[in-house]
Amino acid sequence: MSVQEAAVLSPRARMRRRMRRRLLRRPLAVAGLVVALMFVLMAIFAPVIAPYDPGHSDFSAALAPPSSEHLFGTDELGRDVFSRTVWGARASMQVGVFSTLLAMAVAVPIGLVAGYYRGWVDPVVSRITDVMLAFPFLIVAVGLAAILGPSLTNATIALAFAAVPALIRVTRGETLALREEDYVRAAIANGASDTTILGRHVLPNMTGTLIVQMTVWIPTAIIGESLLSFLGLGVQPPTPSWGVMLSAAQPFIDQAPRLVIFPGLAIFLATLSFNLLGDGMRDVLDPRTQN
């Protein structure tokens, strides 16, 4: 495309085009994007995609191997594994996405304030997050879920809480760096209020990092959800969830390993796809990365 043609596009469009090109040059990231999107669509359109109701039991066909009627076979209660896997995406995506969003909603403001104002807030916040980070993510999530009681909502809250300290760290770090930028100093020199500075100058320049963080935490939360359901602390049966499917499949590992393989594969692919997408996005958003 010639210089003149490029000039006709709006600036936003040009930036997006460049990013798209960079992303497309990374096949792994593209694969990640496609698969992640597939799971998201699967979650949204589960009622349409799944051939059977996930709770519908057909005891006559219990533990049936894959066939034309049941793509992935049936489980011990005669439920269609394929449909359950598809519906399971819902639980995973819901918990994965919402817990991450909730964590960000809490962590970002705290990180902004700590990083921007420093003073006494920063050391206090930093020490608290340090302590919280000493506990592994999954242990915190499991512990909190156990306290709150098993349910999808509680699982979401538990996973969000466990993700908050690390997100505070990231946000604080970005804020510390951004507040030294000259345009922030210019805004101060303009007499802008702190809210204006944080809202117009600091936060918008963090979105790249935050997007990348999302692609890290969503798969972590998916694994978290699977673990919680596996332990019986998350989604409760009969609601399908990959974790629940794994848990229920344990006694039948010898007879029907596919009952473990399919949900396991789903978890694996879902998290891998977000990870690859995240890696790709990180490269794309970092202007210094060369091809």
Partner: protein, 349 residues
Amino acid sequence: MSDPTLEVTDLRMHFPLSGRLGRAGAVVHAVDGVSFTVAPGEVLGLVGESGSGKSTVGNCIMRLLEPTAGTIRLKGKDITHLSRSQLRPLRREMHMVFQDPYSSLNPRMTNGAAVGEPLRLHGIAQGKDLERRVAELFDQVGLNPDLRHRYPHELSGGQRQRIGLARSLSVRPSLLIADEPVSALDVSVQAAILNLLTDLQHDLGFACLFITHDLSIVEYFCDRVIVMYLGRIVETGTREQIFASPQHPYTQALLSAAMTPDPDVQRGRQRITLEGDLPSPIDLPAGCAFRTRCPLAHESLPKSEEEVPELRDVDGDGHLVACHLARHGRRVPRLGERVAPSTDRVAGR
């Protein structure tokens, strides 16, 4: 005789170093007793190398920092310790242009929004009126007003500096602090920005504190000059005084180190080299801070080790020097022949 636009008196900015084992209480003396004034419409050059404290002076005046001691008076009003909300209305009177064109503009804001921000924040204009004013400002700094809708990363370094200037001058401040505004630009672009600054200063009549390390720009653009070393002023005077007859040995060394783009002249000049390294600002040498590198140090002993030299008007002509060797009737010895580039040119051509 009108009030000076800016009056700085005994400004000090000390940064405590925190938590260093065994060095708790160590302090960086970034600015250590600086006093000067800027008259309305005057361009004052603030010259120094790294560690001189010149940028810190600029930041203090802009109240991006709160000075440790001393006073800053903007158009007669003491702004040294005002709170943010008290400062806000006064911020219309002073603004700053930054060195790095790549970090002085928010990458997420359109150029028009960046330029219009001060007008908006100070409640001077909004809506259509704001749009119009912003377009006018673009025109004034030599930019196509269509660029209002673009983003900074689409502009060159020189164009971004123009945006920075438009933003700073949008509210018609009385004082513009330019902190190395052209140092990050290529020479040809530098020329354009300097021309623009000259024009704007002529049209709008603001006073300007021009902070730089580049002496050739100072000679070109500034009416008066202040030379700083390790947080203190070592010499101040008019452009002619400083460039034709520099007094302080540091000023002389600085001028001799500046390169002239003329091989015959440049190679014919005798260069004054300073020995040693810049002392650490945490641990300033007692007395005269420059004595560790001064070619004339031996002549000023033992006083230079004990007493900080005072900035004095030796001949009553407004040319101030802070050197123990400067006395009435006796000038500081010239360190080398043909020191100042401009005198070479005047003499040789």
